[in-house]
């Protein structure tokens, strides 16, 4: 158990430090790299929670796909200019309020203890023995969640069409 606890804290620190660096770095490339660190931390947490399939998805899709897309755009639109300019917008007032409100919430949570959340202790019906994580996910995805899966296919089609329309010079 101890090793799990230690790993949790290691990954959690990775996630948080990565995230803070993402939103504070001046250069977009640095931000992107920090984001990768943060996403890796999240992937680690997936492993801790026995979501191996999600771990793979996170590495391949997120870090391999989305981040490449980001880096590609950062290279494409020249950001040298942006790096020299003012870094933060005028939204800091709203941000301050958001931080204050959320901080108060988290503070109250920590002060009253996690028990106050009343997270229900589930009645474990026993996991389908002998099924690996990927099989479980697949089982769920293609039976109960068949419909959203189909809708997601249209969603991705729209995303492809949309990014092509937007990014091409002339159709």
């Amino acid at each position: 158990m101890l090793i799990d606890t230690v790993l949790f804290y290691i990954f959690a620190v990775m996630v948080l430090i990565g995230a803070i660096l993402t939103i504070t770095r001046r250069s977009a490339v640095h931000s992107a790299i920090s984001l990768i660190v943060s996403l890796l931390g999240v992937a680690g947490l997936y492993l801790l929670q026995q979501a191996e399939f999600l771990f793979a998805v996170q590495i391949v899709l997120y870090i391999g796909g989305i981040m490449v897309l980001f880096l590609f755009v950062i290279m494409l639109v020249n950001l040298d200019q942006a790096a020299k300019e003012r870094q933060f917008s005028g939204g800091w007032m709203v941000a301050l309020i958001a931080i204050g409100a959320a901080g108060a919430g988290i503070g109250a949570l920590l002060w009253r203890g996690f028990g106050s959340l009343h997270i229900p202790a589930p009645v474990l019906e026993g996991t389908p023995a002998g099924l690996g994580n990927t099989e479980q996910v697949a089982d769920s995805l293609f039976s109960t969640y068949l419909l959203p899966f189909e809708i997601a296919s249209i969603l991705l089609l729209v995303a492809v069409v949309g990014s092509v329309i937007m990014a091409k010079k002339r159709i």
Binding site: I66, V77, G91, T144, M166, A167
Partner: protein, 102 residues
């Protein structure tokens, strides 16, 4: 040392949500704003996976897959629009996008 519970994951995800929110609200660079949104979606996924583990079924993981799918789609379209805008205007700073009042 306390064992790690679902509540720990919840607290972590709340913190990540907060960081992402601050990023969206304060940064000028649109690319970084989009990255902050990715942080928020990852906060969601941490929750989902933790709850999925807690309930001992795969529903949360399936949900997380959909969230990732959506993140991909949004990022692709968002960056596409960004390129179209950059072509017309040569800026990626959120508050310089000011033809319409922000």
């Amino acid at each position: 040392m306390h064992p790690i519970t679902t509540a720990h994951y919840l607290a972590l995800s709340l913190a990540l949500l907060l960081i992402g929110t601050v990023g969206v609200l304060t940064r000028r660079n649109v690319v970084i704003i989009l990255m902050s949104i990715e942080l928020i979606l990852n906060a969601v996924n941490i929750n989902l996976i933790a709850f999925s583990h807690m309930w001992q079924h795969a529903t949360g993981q399936v949900f997380a897959i959909f969230v990732i799918t959506d993140a991909v789609a949004e990022a692709a379209v968002g960056l596409g629009i960004l390129i179209a805008l950059f072509r017309n205007k040569e800026t990626v700073q959120a508050d310089e996008i000011d033809l319409l009042k922000w």
